[in-house]
């Protein structure tokens, strides 16, 4: 008989985590590294504080994401595959809180958010991204935090997602034949600089010939609110984030939670009161996810406030100006800018990192709209938004170490193949949809931009397709194995 009384926990008692001393040391080493980077760069030039702000918010995001196992792929997949609403609920909590903080930031005039154009591209991009993230087992932010937990499969997702974006943004050749004539003509009419060869490359013409012709705005402005408080709180937060989130939560409750709640608790049914109790039970079912959603929502809102404040303080509107001021002009776009959203974002900075490597291999990745005109390809050590992604991995590693959850995990060949294939789909989806689950959904819907819900719709449908396919794949594999025994 094997006794497992040591380190054994009962389902009804929270596990007592006693962090191993070596894990505490490792966690402090990671923390110390980021602190050292912040301090030493600040000593070299005080303007590096702008980079450090991104870094520490990334660190907080990493800790929160790891603590709550916060993942958009998990939210969609768990609903459709096993009927568990835990993660979807946590994400909706984060949406509501982030939208409220964003409304405060907007009213204070500290928001640097720019709404995306509204169009079908969001749904298509979300769909491709959604299918990909189900195959990989993690969304863009989820893959980053899982990399911090030591998952090599998640690292493969990040790498394939990054390089796939570079390919999509820069590829021409046969892809040019897929560009509609209207996009080509519209691109030519814009008289873009010849150095970025705007008519060579599918993505260039998609951006200049299609996306730029679309318009977008926040709900507050669309509804014509003249009062900034009403526009931010009623239009952007209430109508675009809180109400849709409440409707989604109600839908999840009715479809996935209500039946088992009533059955499981054997409660005396008291109409609306019981339904409300059931709804609250769903919200609080996983405290861990709810707490993570709360921290993430507040941190994401504060991030915008801090970045805008720093921009005012340093007298800049883009980090490219900081780099120019410090004498680093290599990798800036032809507008002397780099990617600098001023809020939580994931995929573009990773694409920049991959593009920098591709460029070092001798390829020209600056002859396109995405890198050459808009985002630039700075050295990863001088890319403030990439600092955020790296720190996100570090924050996740620290949290994982403190909970004895860090483990270097090598994937099997099958898992690695799914990770790379799914990562490529996510990279394509992120470019087509102009962002990932964070940039095209989380940061947009919470700032009053309805295009984020279109991306969410596509991502949900994509997730559903992905789950159905994966289910079919597994059942087929199992049937094959069982058939082998019958032979």
């Amino acid at each position: 008989m094997s006794s497992l009384s040591c380190n054994t926990v009962n389902a009804s008692t929270p596990p007592m985590i006693v962090t191993e001393p070596r894990n505490v040391i490792r966690a402090f080493l990671v923390l110390g590294f980021f602190a050292l980077v912040s301090l030493s760069t600040f000593v070299v030039d005080h303007r590096f504080i702008y980079f450090s702000a991104y870094l520490w918010f990334g660190f907080i995001y990493g800790m929160s994401l790891q603590y709550g196992r916060f993942c958009m792929a998990s939210a969609i997949r768990d609903l459709f595959a096993v009927g568990v609403p835990r993660m979807a609920v946590g994400i909706m909590i984060a949406v509501v809180l982030y939208s409220l903080i964003s409304a405060f930031v907007t009213v204070a005039g500290q928001s640097n958010f720019h709404p995306s154009p509204i169009g079908l591209y969001s749904v298509i991009g979300g769909l491709i991204f959604g299918i990909g993230m189900v195959y990989t087992g993690g969304c863009a932010s989820g893959s980053l935090y899982k990399t911090g937990e030591g998952s090599i499969a998640a690292l493969l997702v990040v790498i394939s997602l990054s390089f796939a974006q570079v390919y999509v943004a820069d590829a021409g050749g046969w892809l040019n034949h897929l560009v509609p004539t209207a996009w080509v003509q519209s691109t030519i009419a814009k008289n873009l600089p010849a150095v970025i060869t705007p008519t060579d490359g599918w993505y260039d013409q998609f951006t200049a010939g299609y996306i730029w012709n679309l318009s977008g705005n926040t709900v507050g402005k669309m509804l014509g609110f003249t009062n900034s408080i009403a526009a931010a709180f009623i239009g952007n937060s209430l109508l675009n984030a809180i109400l849709p989130a409440a409707i989604i939560l109600a839908g999840i409750y009715l479809r996935w939670y209500r039946k088992s709640y009533l059955r499981g608790n054997e409660v005396q049914y008291r109409g609306f009161r019981t339904e409300l109790a059931g709804f609250w039970s769903m919200i609080t079912a996983s405290k861990r996810t709810a707490i993570a959603g709360l921290v993430l929502g507040v941190a994401a809102g504060l991030h915008m406030w801090v970045m805008d404040g720093l921009q005012h303080r340093l007298g800049i509107s883009n980090a490219g100006e900081l780099l120019s001021g410090m004498g680093f002009t290599s990798g800036l776009s032809i507008q002397d800018t780099i990617f600098d959203p001023g809020y939580f974002y994931i995929t573009t900075q990773e694409a920049q990192g991959a593009a920098w490597i591709v460029q070092k291999l001798g390829f020209n990745v600056m002859d396109n709209v995405f890198f050459g005109l808009d985002n630039g390809v700075p050295n990863p050590l001088l890319n403030p938004v990439l600092w955020m992604s790296i720190a996100l991995v570090g924050g996740s590693a620290v949290m994982a170490l403190l909970n004895n959850e860090f483990k270097l995990k090598m994937p099997s060949l099958e898992v690695a193949t799914w990770a790379i294939f799914g990562g490529i789909l996510m990279g394509i989806g992120a470019r087509v949809g102009l962002g990932c689950n964070i940039g095209a959904f989380f940061a947009t819907v919470t700032n009053g931009d309805p295009s984020g819900w279109l991306f969410c719709l596509g991502m949900t449908v994509g997730g559903f397709i992905g789950v159905k396919f994966f289910n079919w794949w597994i059942e087929r594999k199992m049937a094959k194995e069982l058939a082998a025994f019958d032979l």
Binding site: M1, S2, S3, L4, S5, N7, T8, V9, N10, A11, S12, T13, P15, I17, R69, S74, R77, D78, A81, V82, V84, R86, M87, V134, T136, G137, G142, K146, A153, Y257, S260, Y261, R263, G264, N265, E266, S281, M282, T284, A285, S286, K287, R288, N404, E405, K407, K409, M410, P411, S412, V415, V467, F470, I474, E475, M478, E481, A484, F485, L487
Partner: protein, 132 residues
């Protein structure tokens, strides 16, 4: 095609041998001591170490849906997301979460398939879907 023809019978024989060995090992039931539940015999151990969360969750659901009432399962997984989700999916599979063991390489989750008719006292002791 020729290589496939040569190696397929070898592969299938190897799978059959492994299956028989596994079955022979399973005849010796593993016993575990879980607080609040005493000593229990594990009817089946499922190893998902290294698998991604979707595969882990889907396979567990497939197994638990077809499980016999009263059967105890031991699930090993190092996927933290899956480990977190499994207790929440159990009510839908008519199963109860007995315990989660933290081991250095993975987590072991113990699950019991509920009997078709449960007494009210039993179900009250396990608030639905609530993580504690």
């Amino acid at each position: 095609m020729l290589l496939y023809g040569i190696f397929r019978p070898i592969g299938l024989t190897w799978i059959r041998i492994r299956h028989r060995l596994d079955r022979a090992n399973k005849l010796e039931l593993k016993q575990v001591d879980l607080p609040g539940h005493g000593t229990l015999s594990v009817d089946e151990s499922l190893d998902f170490v290294g698998d991604n969360c979707l595969r882990t969750n889907l396979l567990i659901k497939l197994v638990l849906d077809k499980a016999i009432a009263g059967a105890v399962y031991e699930i090993s997984s190092d996927n933290l997301s899956a480990v977190e989700t499994i207790p929440f999916m159990l009510p839908n599979c008519d199963c109860e979460h007995l315990a989660t063991i933290h081991e250095s390489t993975c987590r072991k989750i113990y699950i019991r398939k509920r009997k078709p008719q449960t007494s009210p006292t039993e179900s009250k002791s396990r608030p639905h879907g609530r993580q504690r």
